[in-house]
């Protein structure tokens, strides 16, 4: 079973969105729930695909606000799916304007906390 784990930045962003954009936050949280269901039921990783998911490189996935209602601001929740632990790390939440920075920020989080195996080998 997959679980989710928030990060310190996600906590801050979540509080901001809760106050300023609660409908957008609800929409991405609902899609996060859909993604968890999908991962739990998938026979293989390739099956866990959906229109509200966007691969952002380095294992970072963005979940958008699709099917969350009309006239919502473009919102994305950035996550990292750690296959080994079966944990979805919730990294940050942002809008279209901050998209570029959010992707880089999320990739940095993954690099720092989940470096690829070759980087962990001793010299």
């Amino acid at each position: 079973m997959w679980s989710t784990s928030p990060t310190t930045q996600w906590e801050k962003d979540r509080k901001y969105y809760e106050k300023k954009h609660p409908r957008e936050l609800a929409a991405v949280l609902n899609n996060l729930g859909r993604y968890i269901d999908l991962l739990n039921r998938s026979k293989k990783a390739a099956c866990a695909e959906a229109g509200y998911l966007h691969g952002e490189g380095a294992g970072v996935v963005a979940i958008d606000q699709k099917a969350g209602g009309k006239s919502l601001q473009e919102t994305r929740m950035y996550i990292f799916a750690n296959e080994a632990e079966k944990v979805l790390y919730l990294i940050t939440i942002g809008n279209k304007d901050s998209q570029h920075d959010d992707v880089l920020y999320s990739r940095d989080f993954v690099k720092e906390h989940f470096p690829p195996p070759e980087q962990t080998k001793p010299d």
Partner: protein, 205 residues
């Protein structure tokens, strides 16, 4: 974004883990307003969520399912990511057929507990009758169906007994079973010691 003008500190894992979004929202003290809206959205996307799960459980990618259904991958993506009201019966039917799975949908006012138990009981009766009809027409299957009846009977009583234990004053409860079988069988249903009626043995014919 809250930090557009400021530099974000690097994110650190908090170590807290949640197995569902509902649990996450409760654990992180997300406002009632957001929790209610998520619940509302969940009910509006329940079938599409289930369809995506059916495909994934069958080991099919969206492209593979699209090929089976003779449609485009973007159609599949739209159905699975959209709202339930956009789906048609044909789409649901196609998913069941292509994934060889079964999906039951109930729409409308939910049944009360008593109504639901009655509905299940009638369903159970119909299934048992169908099995009895098979036993009458097929002597090879008769014995195994007979054995299944005994097992099912005992299991149902166990369910009743376990639920009864959760009732207040369950110690006063007596479940007395009387059956008439061709071959004597001991049917037992153990319960906490009854205070008023000591005779709770299963009666054999």
């Amino acid at each position: 974004m809250p930090t557009e003008t400021e530099t974000k500190a690097p994110a650190r894992p908090t170590g807290r883990k949640y197995t569902s979004v509902a649990e996450l929202m409760r654990g992180e003290n997300v406002s009632r307003e957001v929790q209610d809206r998520v619940a509302e959205l969940e009910s509006e996307t329940r079938i599409s969520r289930y369809l995506a799960g059916m495909r994934a459980a069958s080991g099919l990618t969206q492209a593979e399912l699209a090929e089976k259904l003779n449609c485009t991958q973007s159609c599949i993506s739209k159905w699975e990511s959209g709202e339930d009201e956009e789906l048609t019966i044909k789409v649901i039917w196609d998913y069941c057929r292509a994934t060889d799975q079964r999906l039951g949908i109930f729409i409308g006012k939910p049944l009360g507990h008593v109504e639901a138990i009655k509905a299940y009981a009638f369903g159970l009766r119909d299934r048992l009758k169908a099995l009895a009809a098979i036993a009458n027409s097929d002597s090879d299957l008769e014995q195994s169906i007979q054995a299944f009846f005994g097992e099912a009977f005992f299991n149902l009583l166990t369910i009743f007994e376990n639920c009864q234990r959760e009732m207040p004053n369950s110690g006063d409860f007596e479940l007395r079973i009387e059956t008439q079988c061709k071959q004597p069988k001991m049917l037992t249903c153990r319960h906490s010691e009854p205070q008023h009626k000591p005779s709770r043995e299963a009666v054999m014919a």
